[in-house]
């Protein structure tokens, strides 16, 4: 486990935030806990008429509350588009996304997104950027403590007052992850959150994500290019891929794999090895 002291702090503030929320605004204890996500016959195409470009076709998927679902697929197959639909940043052409049974319509505050690019506000410090993720109504002191703690967890404590342009791409990406975590969301949408990180930091951040998920089992949709990352982090992996039938353009879910074993998993286990080769083969074939 990474930084045990910090994790305890994280859990305690998560819990106290939940108790506060439960005690004050919403009496339901389900508030802020993991939420199930359903993609129901979701199709998304861009353009219209002859220039219509179908990106996602007929996506049907049930993501269980508290599950970590990895989404893999070739570049440009529509992974980000799928996440954007879940966040309500993009509306499906047909079909719907349901979170906890209610359709997503416009930007949904039950989700938090870490975008593929960091998208930090250049004129704010990392601390202020992370603070933007805090749920509305967070008290000043509690918010400050939470931001400080998250910056510590993503190993940016020493850079809290730096501007985004003064830190590296990987550091900006971690700040963006911290901003999404600050939201304490029911559904966490992560679009290649570790893409810009070096191997060691990547492993650390994967552990961090698992720790946070254990402390507060939110539903996580994780887009990744890295098959090993998917095998390490996910309960299930879905592959987005195009059909070979030219009459059916656009990507759909071509495979749903349940990853065996509890986390943290042995990276060298034979089961994972087989799954890895099969996934790589699928991606290799469907990637072009």
């Amino acid at each position: 486990m990474l930084l045990p002291g910090a994790m305890e702090l994280y859990m305690s503030t998560v819990l106290s935030a939940q108790q506060q929320a439960a005690g004050k605004a919403q009496p339901t204890t389900a508030d802020k806990l993991a939420l199930p996500v359903t993609f129901s016959a979701l199709t998304r195409s861009f353009g219209s008429g002859t220039s219509e470009h179908v990106v996602l076709r007929d996506i049907n998927l049930e993501v269980r509350a508290g599950e970590v679902l990895a989404i893999v697929g070739a570049s440009g197959c529509g992974k980000s588009t799928l996440l954007r639909a879940a966040a309500g940043l993009d509306a499906p052409t047909t079909g719907a996304v349901l979170i906890d049974g209610t359709p997503v319509n416009g930007i949904d505050d039950r989700c938090a997104v870490a975008f593929q690019e960091p998208r930090l506000l250049p004129w704010l410090s990392l601390r202020a950027n992370v603070a933007i993720g805090l749920p509305r109504g967070t008290g000043a002191a509690a918010g400050k403590a939470k931001v400080t703690e998250l910056l510590g967890l993503v190993e940016l404590a020493d850079f809290a007052e730096h501007r985004p342009r003064e830190v590296s791409g990987g550091m900006a990406q971690r700040a963006s992850l911290a901003r999404a975590l600050a939201r304490n969301p029911g559904v966490l949408l992560l679009d290649e959150p570790f893409g810009a990180l070096d191997a060691l930091t990547r492993l650390k951040m994967q552990d961090l994500l698992l720790d946070i998920h254990r402390a507060q089992p939110t539903t996580v949709l994780l887009v990744t290019h890295d098959v090993d990352e998917a095998l390490q982090l996910a309960d299930r992996i879905i592959v987005l891929g195009k059909s070979t039938d030219p009459a059916r353009p656009g990507a759909s879910v071509t495979e749903v794999l349940t990853v065996p074993g509890r986390r943290p998993r042995d990276r060298n286990s034979a089961d994972l090895g087989r799954m890895r080769s099969s996934l790589l083969a699928t991606l290799g074939v469907k990637g072009h």
């Binding site: 966040a87 940043l89 989700c111 506000l121 004129w123």
Partner: protein, 291 residues
């Protein structure tokens, strides 16, 4: 008015505004984040000294002329004569009045034009409806060469302060309006979307993302506007006035006082450069603060 590009604007301001500029700003080193290690040329005192080389050279050649006599003293009085003219006008108490009234006109016209430019630029930049409603009209008004308004202004407001200030206002309005409008249109959509994804909307979105994003552009717009304001001041005073640096120009022309013409031109250069430099400092601060 399409003269905006003729005026000095800092690289930072334009870069922040999404433009690229190849001319070099003459106001000193830009403190850009990714700039290569500073050489001798980016040291402030060195640059200041280098900047003074050409004016000093001109002064020397100018003084030499009075010895060699390429131009007659009427065409080109020696520098000392310009100095004497200045002393004379100062002693009569007139020079300060000319400078003060001109500066006052510029500042009032600039302030009003900039305010109007900021207001309308923000309105059209943020509201598609206002844009659709007003853009064609404002575009058409901008297509009118601004001096074409002079007869109308004189007809409506007589030859008083109002007509001059209004002309300067028109000159200052368009650069501010245009830069703010374009900057608001070009605020990074990804940033706006990210902020909206975290629940920001309305006024909070405006003050958290859109306004900070355009601050550098606003400052470069203000600098362009200030340069335009001086341009229009001289135009207004040349046409009709009894005080001010533009009046000093026409009056001296009529009286054949070339020394005073030179004095007025030098004063315009110095004052214009000074006010521009002050805004330039503000602009650089804003670029550092907001990007």
């Amino acid at each position: 008015m399409t003269q905006e590009n003729a005026y000095p604007v800092s690289k930072e301001g334009l870069a922040a505004n999404g433009h690229t500029l190849t001319t070099v700003d003459d106001d000193g080193p830009a403190t850009q984040p990714n700039e290569p290690a500073p050489g001798l040329l980016s040291r402030r005192p060195v640059r200041l000294l280098l900047g003074l080389v050409v004016p000093a050279l001109i002064l020397v050649l100018w003084q030499l002329n009075s010895v060699v006599g390429v131009f007659s003293a009427v065409q080109l009085p020696p520098p000392s004569a310009v100095g004497t003219a200045a002393v004379e006008l100062i002693e009569r108490g007139e020079l300060w009045i000319h400078i003060a009234i001109s500066t006052q006109r510029v500042l009032i016209g600039f302030a009003l034009g900039a305010t109007l430019g900021l207001a309308l630029g923000a309105l059209l930049g943020l509201s598609r409806l206002a844009d659709a409603l007003l853009s064609p009209t404002i575009g058409a008004l901008r297509a009118v060469p601004s001096l074409a308004w002079v007869p109308l202004l004189i007809l409506w407001m007589k030859i008083g302060e109002d007509s001059k200030v209004t002309l300067i206002l028109i000159g200052a309005f368009f650069p501010v309006f245009t830069t703010l409008f374009l900057a608001l249109r070009h605020v990074d959509r990804n940033l706006v979307e990210a902020a909206r994804a975290f629940g920001l909307k309305g006024i909070r979105l405006l003050t958290t993302v859109q306004l900070p994003a355009v601050v550098p552009a606003v400052f470069s717009g203000l600098r362009l506007a200030l340069a335009q304001a001086w341009l229009f001041l001289v135009a207004a005073e040349l046409i009709a006035s009894s005080l001010g640096l533009g009046f000093l120009l026409t009056d001296s022309t009529n009286n054949g006082r070339t020394d005073r013409i030179f004095l007025a031109i030098i004063l315009l250069a110095v004052i214009g450069k000074t006010t521009d430099a002050l805004l330039g400092i503000a602009e650089r601060w804003a670029v550092r603060r907001w990007t």
